[in-house]
Symmetry: D3
Subunit: 115 residues, 6 copies
Amino acid sequence: MNEQVKEFREYREAMNEKLLAGDNKVIKRIFNLDTNTYMEGALSTKVKEMLGLVSSMVLRCDDCIKYHLEKCQEQGITNDEMMEIFAVANLVGGTIVIPHTRRAIEYWEIINQEA
Amino acid sequence: MNEQVKEFREYREAMNEKLLAGDNKVIKRIFNLDTNTYMEGALSTKVKEMLGLVSSMVLRCDDCIKYHLEKCQEQGITNDEMMEIFAVANLVGGTIVIPHTRRAIEYWEIINQEA
Amino acid sequence: MNEQVKEFREYREAMNEKLLAGDNKVIKRIFNLDTNTYMEGALSTKVKEMLGLVSSMVLRCDDCIKYHLEKCQEQGITNDEMMEIFAVANLVGGTIVIPHTRRAIEYWEIINQEA
Amino acid sequence: MNEQVKEFREYREAMNEKLLAGDNKVIKRIFNLDTNTYMEGALSTKVKEMLGLVSSMVLRCDDCIKYHLEKCQEQGITNDEMMEIFAVANLVGGTIVIPHTRRAIEYWEIINQEA
Amino acid sequence: MNEQVKEFREYREAMNEKLLAGDNKVIKRIFNLDTNTYMEGALSTKVKEMLGLVSSMVLRCDDCIKYHLEKCQEQGITNDEMMEIFAVANLVGGTIVIPHTRRAIEYWEIINQEA
Amino acid sequence: MNEQVKEFREYREAMNEKLLAGDNKVIKRIFNLDTNTYMEGALSTKVKEMLGLVSSMVLRCDDCIKYHLEKCQEQGITNDEMMEIFAVANLVGGTIVIPHTRRAIEYWEIINQEA
């Protein structure tokens, strides 16, 4: 597995464990909600993951972007679709989203090569 | 037409005109881009309008939310679908999105009654 | 009751009802969490309400600020304590927090006169 | 004087007084700093007011925008210059800055007519 | 001393020195204010540091979070209290705060082991 | 060339290429606009680069800050002028801008030594 992907996933998992070990009800329930929100519903998981990704981009959270890129890849989102998500994010959020889009395209390529 | 909708649209149009009358190339092109971004492409306009809406919600821009609610309504987005967009926005963006969601649900109801 | 307070509370309650009537599980659970988070725990409700207020101020959400000001008033927070919360918010968040602090001081005075 | 301008200035002044009456040293010093920062220095007040305005625009604070528009008007900033400040703000900050730019152009016109 | 802690502190100190060497009055006074704001007053330093931490978390500034975690540790804040601060931050600020909370729990553990 | 500068420029260029290779019209036009916005006009490029820098600082985008620092250096902005831009950014945006200012002063020194 690519080193960047491996590192991201391992750190994420290890720290989530630490956080949940803190045994705080609110934090646990936020983590549960995070899983439930993206489940199939009136909207498909595919669409919801796109919503999660674009939100992460305009809010400029690199780790959230990586996470949703992985989910989008699992949902079979194509390269052209991804470019249009990037376009909305950069239009609405402005050029300050560009550096995050650079890191996003790098990660998007890596996880598509892995697949 | 409902007073809130009318006022929003008229003010929006009048001020856009003033802005474009300033004859600044960059501003004009941003306005053009704003139209082009949401056109049918690899992703449907319907999906793109959802992306625009959720971005506006997490960035907490009431006028942008109203605008995309109108576009979502034109695209035939159902009430259940809208609730799931609201859910993603409030999960990702946190409870500070709630007051904007209150104003969104009010406007969403109004424009659906108008239709 | 003061007109501004009355309007704020009534609109808030009416729109929360509409939102919850949408019957979306995620939204309902976020609302529940919102109540549970501020309950007595390792930290007192008083301290947690201050945390909620300062967060709302630096994120510049006027309605969230009003809500937490009401809760802080119920918790017996004094005027001097409030000024110090304002100070942290304006230092950390910068002068763009000042207009929100102006609206906060107005509301804080009103709800203290009501009490 | 135009009603919108009058209301903005009077509310601002009245609430600043209330805030300063709270007699909190940190808040007082932030207010002082706010005055000193824009004084003539290595950069002219004119340039600094433009910096203050564009910062307020990308951070989307309407009251801060109004305040700096007034200061820019006092500094003799022309309409074409203002349009270019708007352009930078909307490019860097994205289309979520547009609604704030609509309110800015309205206020900018009013204060120029007053002058 | 732990490498991450050492690096953070040394870089912070070295760059603060460079910044203050720039001999700009406004910057110097902001640095002074930053110290004064968290002093004992109507609110204890302990509570103020919690306010500073939660503000840094919802604004998602990793270095600010580290700084306030150190101060909170000096103030004897317990693990359970810290979890409740994390809970407020993640509820108010949304799931985009989670990656910052992961880095926070890592740093919190390190500085508690150092102590 | 300094390693940090080299790395920043190479990564930026390589990823911009990847992004543009995606052949999305909106993204291409945003990149074009980004160039046009800072050209000489009613305002000089020098002033516009300062506007771009201060916007990037209050929005806390380190890569955007580096980019505009390079442009400001090319425009002959002095150290004292830079300190005053930093002052406005830290006043308006608050102390959460300080860590970004620390990284800015480091990069500013490096590119001035290179020159």
